[in-house]
Amino acid sequence: MSKVDKKIQYLLKSLGRGIHMHVREKEAMRSRLQEYIRLKPIKVENVEKKYIYINFKKYFGYKFIPALLIIILLVGSGGAVAFASELALPGDTLYGVKEFIEESKAKILISDEAKINWAEQRAKRREQEAKQLAKLGRLNENNSKLIENKILKHKLHVQKILKKIEKRNPAKAKIIKARLHKLILTKPKRRELHDKKGVTEDHPSFVEKVKNKRSLNTKDDTKRQGIRRIKIENIKKDLFEVLKKQQEQKPKLKNINKSEEHKQNKTTTRKQIKDKPLEHREVIKRSVTNKLKDRRNNIRKIKEESNPHKEE
């Protein structure tokens, strides 16, 4: 900026220094404005009205886009964690999130029927968790105790609510009971309530039943395997016998060929056949074919006698 420009700016600033209202003019204007204020006082209703005004430029302008993106990412990640926690099992890191979500949902519910339905679903979830743990081989004592205690809590919660409903409307309570799952309807036994563990040997809990089911299945498997072995051995034995018979019968066939009858009825060579007349030749042919047929039939009979199992 040149000196001339600076000077011009200084002169412009100095132009307005001497210009101002006189004191009388100022006081007169003030009094007029005070009268105007008295004529138009502020209404209380207008002051109490609270206008919610959001300055979008201020909060959603270009400067605040990174902050908004971070907020959106955090909210989205929270939703993803909640979605992933549904697949969690006892012992996983996200299982705590799952429990928190279930409890918060239980607190939000108002009606008794909704509370009962949710408790029933929670008990079913524990059931599924136990099955999955058993499949994966992660069913420990700690996990089993956790699941059983939770199922007990749900049972007690449901029965408290049912008692309340019975007092008000017993018919409704009956309808609800008929609809509920057996798992929740069975009353917790005294030993379950008093024992700290909640489980006894005489009354096996659900988790133990799951465990026992898995063990029973192994025993059945062994029995079946044993039966199969026996069958295989029996079949082998039969086969040995059949083969022996066949081997024994084979030299018989040879003997038949070398029998005296055969030797006597042994046909002559071709030269000898040619020397004979035609009539004799045909007779010889017939006899040969008949003999072959007989031989084949004998072999079939022997085989049938030696393999009786096939028929069975």
Partner: protein, 183 residues
């Protein structure tokens, strides 16, 4: 602090500055006083409705600017319009320039003729440039505040400022080539 107290405080702080601004735009004392009073009355109407006023100064200047523009439109005459358009002045009235009110004020200042020339050239400028110069150098407002009052971007305000200063300088040189030596 109640609304009445805030209003009274705004009057004490900004009444003179508003009057000065109006004088440079209109060059008529009585009319300037009336417009300043009207501007204060309008702000009280908005406060009375229940609206929350964060910046009293900006609101007052905005109302005053609008009133001055309405005043120009009322006083417009056809013969003068053509002259003003040729010479680059859009809305000022030369008849008012010759009133005793402004000249008397200017004679009370330093006896330099430069100030007189500058004052004359300021009135010849377009209203867009004139109001920006007055708000920036006479009223002492920042560019952000001027942009809020005039509802324009800061960029346009700074562009208008630079162009106004250039035109002022060129007009001064055209009228009196020796003025630069005097400065």
């Amino acid at each position: 602090m109640t609304v009445e107290d805030a209003f009274n405080k705004a009057y004490d702080d900004y009444a003179d500055a508003l009057f000065r601004h109006c004088m440079f735009r209109l060059s008529h004392r009585e009319r300037a006083l009336e417009l300043v009073q009207e501007a204060f009355m309008k702000t009280w109407d908005t406060a009375q409705k229940g609206e929350r006023i964060k910046n009293w100064r900006a609101l007052l200047y905005r109302y005053l600017n609008n009133l001055i523009i309405d005043e120009y439109r009322k006083k417009k005459q056809e013969s003068l319009d053509s002259i003003l358009d040729k010479e680059g002045v859009s809305e000022a009235n030369f008849a008012d320039l010759k009133t005793n009110s402004l000249e008397e004020v200017i004679t009370l200042l330093d006896s330099k003729q430069i100030a007189k020339h500058l004052n004359m050239e300021l009135y010849k400028l377009q209203d867009n440039y004139k109001r920006v110069l007055i708000l920036r150098y006479i009223d002492g407002l920042r560019i952000k505040e001027i942009a809020k009052i005039l509802k324009e971007t800061e960029n346009t305000v700074s562009v208008h400022l630079n162009r106004a200063l250039k035109k002022l300088k060129s007009n001064l040189l055209n009228n009196d080539p020796l003025i630069m030596q005097k400065i």
